[in-house]
Symmetry: C2
Subunit: 202 residues, 2 copies
């Protein structure tokens, strides 16, 4: 999976600058709403120069999505089948919430892609993602059968964790407007903890 392409120092730097600028733009305006000039200016390059590093607008977007998907599921993969069930699930939720805090642009990029029908990653959803979720669903069912957590639909439990955590990144503007303050992490974390604990307690 590692790129075999050799990269000069300057290439690495410029490609990184382009991806950073692209993440900023795409996560805020969506694919169609973002222009190459916008990205080029933010990256400090001319448009033709930008296209020297990525063959098209779509290539930038795709590269970002691939980089994102590569790490997006790490918290779920990190769930330990052998750990304490309630703690494993709650830790998973906390890690997802931390990602909303630390990588809101990535979360929004993912959200806009899904909202638009996931045209670039439909395969990923019904492939890798579904396989991983199904695998974790088996683990969760095992925990239920063992009486370690209360009976719960594993898929919808996972959806709950996704929605509860990503909401704080994706709807950040709304959250801050309603809360009247900017830092939601501590309160959200405590809230999620009690919510999940109440539901999972066997």
């Amino acid at each position: 999976m590692s790129d075999a392409k050799p990269q000069t120092r300057i290439q690495a730097k410029n490609r990184a600058a382009i991806l950073a600028a692209g993440l900023d733009a795409f996560s805020q305006f969506g694919f169609r709403g973002t222009t190459l000039d916008q990205i080029a200016e933010a990256a400090g390059l001319s448009k033709p120069n930008l296209l020297y590093y990525f063959r098209s607008k779509d290539a930038i977007y795709t590269a970002l999505l691939e980089r994102l998907l590569d790490t997006w599921l790490d918290p779920m993969r990190a769930m330990d089948d052998a750990g304490d069930p309630v703690e494993e699930i709650i830790t998973y939720a906390r890690r997802k919430l931390e990602m909303s805090r630390d990588f809101p642009r990535e979360s929004r990029l993912f959200a806009t892609e899904i909202l638009q029908g996931a045209p670039h990653i439909a395969d990923h959803l019904s492939g890798d993602l579904r396989a991983l979720v199904d695998a974790k669903a088996v683990v969760i069912r095992g925990w239920i059968a063992a009486g370690k957590i209360a009976p719960v639909d594993p898929h919808h439990l996972i959806f709950s964790i996704w929605s509860l955590t990503q909401h704080y990144a994706d709807f950040d503007v709304q959250v801050r407007a309603v809360l009247g303050k900017d830092d939601w992490f501590e309160d959200a974390d405590a809230h999620l903890d009690t919510l999940l604990r109440a539901r999972l307690r066997p």
Copy 2:
């Protein structure tokens, strides 16, 4: 708030067709990602004809958002201070879930607007919306003080209900891909019911 403008039968019909087509397009592609030609064709009108009814692309989008905001908060307003606390909250969640099922395009339109920083409705968020949420927060705190429901942060409880329910409309593609089936309503409804009930039980 009622428009004083008289409308002929044909005007009402065409304006409705345009709004319907606009909702389809904007909810899927966002504001910048949608073209007038797209809307015009879907509405069965020529582009100049479309602009005879709405002075600009922005006017269509704004009209849709206004219509949406007008009804979006109805379920929350319908929460009855005098009703049974747990049932009121669960009924609110169910109504929101029904909206995800029955008005997914509206939900996605709202989601794209918020994702992009709510440029058109920032005032609404920190005005009407915040006021309503704060009012309901007072009610919920009253319920807690009376021992009718378990202690909970009212704002984050409301965020939870928003995120849990809207997720099924906004991330519909992902939900269906992971579930491997198209109808999620019944299972989601049951899941939400037990989740909230477990958390709210005093």
